[in-house]
């Protein structure tokens, strides 16, 4: 039913939805989660659904496959899939439809693929269960052909492997292969590249773009406007279950009309936003052209000049030896890493997953001892002394993790969390005053004292985590991906807070991130990690604008960028 139909009416929409509303009885106070959603996707077209977490984008996409979940109540004006009225479909119709007409690619391939089956079996199942082919040999050929199509090298060998044996990028491609095996007219991809490194993300996006060129429709769900810019023809921006902005990608991203879209675009950190507050961004009419707008931001307070060396890392190396079962193979995670961080300086570490960034942070934090080399803190030996000797200096070196919630004792309230890291014993009242002033410093208030962290939003949790680190009055804070789990607007607020406090207090930051935009926005200097080595380092602007090393160049080329994406599309 798939190929013949699309040949006849090329321009007829693959899917057309008008006035879709979704709600769950009892949840959300009985109010619908998605209201009045319209969507049309034609063959060879990519529509992107953009919004923050909780905006209703995933549930909307799922309801297009009738997979909104148990208890979901949907109401819709008009819902046609390839010209057939989907409102009258029964469960059997939907089953026939999934795979052949629509394919779904989800974010986490490891969870979406069956751990007990090889990726070859996974793809073959889609082909055989829809009885597209019945001959075993033909199914095998088609499977290998599909795996090849999504850019998996040596498909014959890879088909025999299980999902957990593949790298993240290959795994995601295998998932796409199973989604497109039956040649669907519509692919729904829900954050397909969110957990991937930038270079792998670029490859996966290319695979999807290839499908569009072959005539499939793509509904891409993403929170990343830059990803969207490079691939989507049209963009729909959702907020709180409502469509707030939509139109051709170029119009929406370069001339955003809705304040929310503007806010989303302006909150993206980059070299252009250096030294200014991200959350303060507003759009003003351009000088030359009445329709053009330019982003105006308020500046951050003046930075203090870099002072003495706070942290010195000298030629550290670390390797791990695999357990006996895995053959005691030695893997080198860090090799001859040397750098220093001065007072009031922000030093960024970038690199892909597995490059040794986090291991380096652990060594600096004194949670792991290096095999070779030495770390000194405030001029005193750090990595070479025993833990008991380090304890005296511990307050001077603090840590802001990516996942704030799991770093809080589940029994503790906000006041206990901060109090635990507060030095001295100067009476209960004085301590309470100090805790409240720390909360106010990070934009919270005394009202939050007795909140349990679970009841706080992601941004608030990260603020508590920052307040906790500052409580110890540290000389340097190690931040490990502190904003990567946050939505773009919240990320902007937290970055502003970090930058402002940093320049006010003169605390040095060692800032680890995979996001080059964040690094360029915030950091004075940057270290580029690859396979446990520093391949390039220098001033952030110099390294990220004129990279010298091939790896830095490829990293930068893979980072999606709105301007570049639009001009390429």
């Amino acid at each position: 039913m798939s190929s013949v139909g699309s040949q006849i009416d090329r321009a007829a929409p693959v899917v057309e939805v008008q006035g879709l509303s979704i709600g769950f009885a009892g949840a959300n106070g009985g109010k619908p989660i998605v209201v009045d959603f319209d969507l049309t996707i034609r063959p060879g077209e990519c529509v992107a659904l953009v919004g923050e977490s909780g905006s209703g984008k995933s549930i909307t996409a799922r309801s297009l496959l009738n997979l909104a979940g148990d208890g979901a109540k949907t109401a819709v004006h008009r819902f046609e899939i390839k010209g057939r009225d989907a409102r009258s479909f029964g469960e059997a119709d939907w089953r026939k439809l999934r795979g052949t007409v629509t394919g779904l690619v989800m974010q986490d391939a490891l969870v979406s693929l069956d751990p007990l089956r090889t990726i070859g079996q996974e793809v073959a199942e889609v082909i055989s269960s829809h009885r597209i082919l019945t001959d075993a040999g033909a199914i095998r050929d088609r499977t290998l052909q599909t795996l090849g199509k999504v850019g998996i090298p040596n498909p014959a060998d890879r088909a025999l492997q299980y999902a957990h044996q593949l790298s993240g990028g290959l795994r995601q491609r295998a998932l796409i292969a199973s989604a497109i095996a039956a040649d669907p007219d519509l692919i729904i991809a829900d954050e397909p590249t969110t957990s991937l490194d930038v270079t792998v993300q670029a490859q996966v996006l290319q695979v999807l773009a290839e499908r569009i060129r072959e005539g499939a429709g793509l509904l891409l769900i993403s929170h990343d406007l830059a990803v969207v810019a490079g691939i989507a023809d049209r963009v729909i921006v959702m907020r709180d279950g409502r469509v707030v902005d939509s139109g051709p990608t170029r119009d929406v991203l370069t001339h955003p009309r809705h304040p929310y879209t503007r806010q989303l675009i302006a909150a993206i950190p980059s070299g252009r936003s250096r030294g200014s507050r991200l959350a303060s961004a507003r759009f003003e009419p351009g000088a030359s052209d009445a329709t053009a707008v330019s982003i105006v931001r308020e500046p951050l307070p003046q930075r203090q000049a870099a002072g003495e060396v706070v942290l010195e890392v000298k030629e550290i190396s670390k390797s791990f030896i695999a357990p006996k079962a895995a053959g005691r193979a030695k893997s080198v995670v860090l090799q001859d890493i040397s750098f220093d961080v001065r007072a009031a300086e922000v030093v960024g570490i970038v690199g892909e997953s597995g490059s040794g960034k986090s291991t380096c942070a652990k060594v600096v934090l004194g949670l792991l001892d290096p095999d070779d080399g030495e770390v000194t803190l405030l001029g005193e030996p750090w990595s070479s002394v025993a833990e008991a000797g380090r304890r005296r200096l511990r307050r001077k070196l603090q840590y802001i993790p990516q996942d704030a919630l799991s770093s809080f004792d589940p029994r503790y309230r906000v006041r206990n969390i901060i109090a635990e890291n507060l030095p001295g014993a100067d009476g209960r009242i004085a301590r309470l005053d100090r805790i409240v002033s720390l909360l106010e410093l990070v934009g919270l208030s005394a009202d939050h004292l007795d909140r349990v962290p679970r009841s706080l939003s992601g941004g608030q949790r990260q603020r508590v985590s920052i307040a906790r680190a500052l409580a110890a009055e540290p000389a340097i804070i190690v931040c490990d991906e502190p904003v990567s789990a946050l939505d773009i607007c919240i990320q902007a607020q937290v970055l502003d807070l970090l930058a402002e406090l940093q320049s006010r207090l003169g605390t040095a930051l060692l800032f680890i991130s995979h996001d080059l935009g964040v690094i360029e926005h915030l950091c004075d200097r940057v270290l580029v990690f690859q396979n446990g080595r520093i391949v390039e380092q220098g001033g952030a602007e110099a390294v990220l604008r004129q990279p010298q090393h091939a790896y830095t160049k490829s990293l930068l080329a893979s980072v999606p960028d709105i301007q570049r994406g639009l001009s390429a599309a």
């Binding site: 709600g23 106070g29 009985g30 819709v76 949670l367 840590y399 004792d409 589940p410």
Partner: protein, 304 residues
Amino acid sequence: MTAPSHRSFDTAVPLEAPQDLVGFEASHSLAAIAVRRRLPFGLVLSFVFVAFLIAASIAPSLFTHFDPLVGDFSEGLKPPGWAHLFGTDRLGRDVFARTVFGTRYSLLIGFGGVAVGLGAGIVLGIIAGQRNRILDEAVSRLFDMLSSFPGVLLAMLIVTFLGQGMLNIAIAVGIAGIPKFGRVVRAQTQLIRDADYVTQAAIYGLSRWQVFIRHVLPNVLVAIPIIATVYIGSTILIVSGLSFLGLGPQPPTPEWGVMLAESRDVLRVAWWPGVFPGLAITATVIAFSVIGNHLQQRFEGRLA
């Protein structure tokens, strides 16, 4: 996908309070709470039954005016009726009174056994859960040894060593339960030992001991009441078995296992002296298991 009418949501639905936040309020009846919190009927029944059990073991004379130890021979083996709710046994003692008075022994030995098992299990489990591989191996093998005997058999062995009596039987059942509790505590300790907030505490500059006392221990202990409830039922079952074999309290104590043993001789002519204490054991075990399982499900995933 059914579409009766477009925008069927526009009719405003009043805001419901989130279920989790609805607390117990004294002014509301148990049934009302059950309905509002959508508790399953069996669970409510189990809670009510356990409440009765506790009341019966504290003040058994509230439930019956008969003496559990003294009977009238002329009234021997009367079937259940209005005079004697559960009938009488061979010696003319009221079976209902004996069952009610027996609650005390079963609960006491059951709780005592769990306490002994938990106490030792917590200490050993925490030792095994530390980062010391030798200690872990030693303790874990001890658990293996203890659990390689069936619980009843091991308890019998220990009672034979210690001699009969309520305290000894509680100790015996407790020792037999050590591996069960110890393994759960060990796993929980390992989980929390590696939790991010424990690492974070090390970064504060707390000593290992401070980290353990402040963060590891309390979070390990959070799970204990739940584990205890789950195992009380099965402990009571073992205790009744041992009493039945004559290793626990001795006749004429109205303990349920003892009553079962006494009823054996007359079972051909009178079913009631055996069936009622048997039902009491069954109902108690089920009630505790239902409550324990419910608690476990409720707190699943919230402990780490």
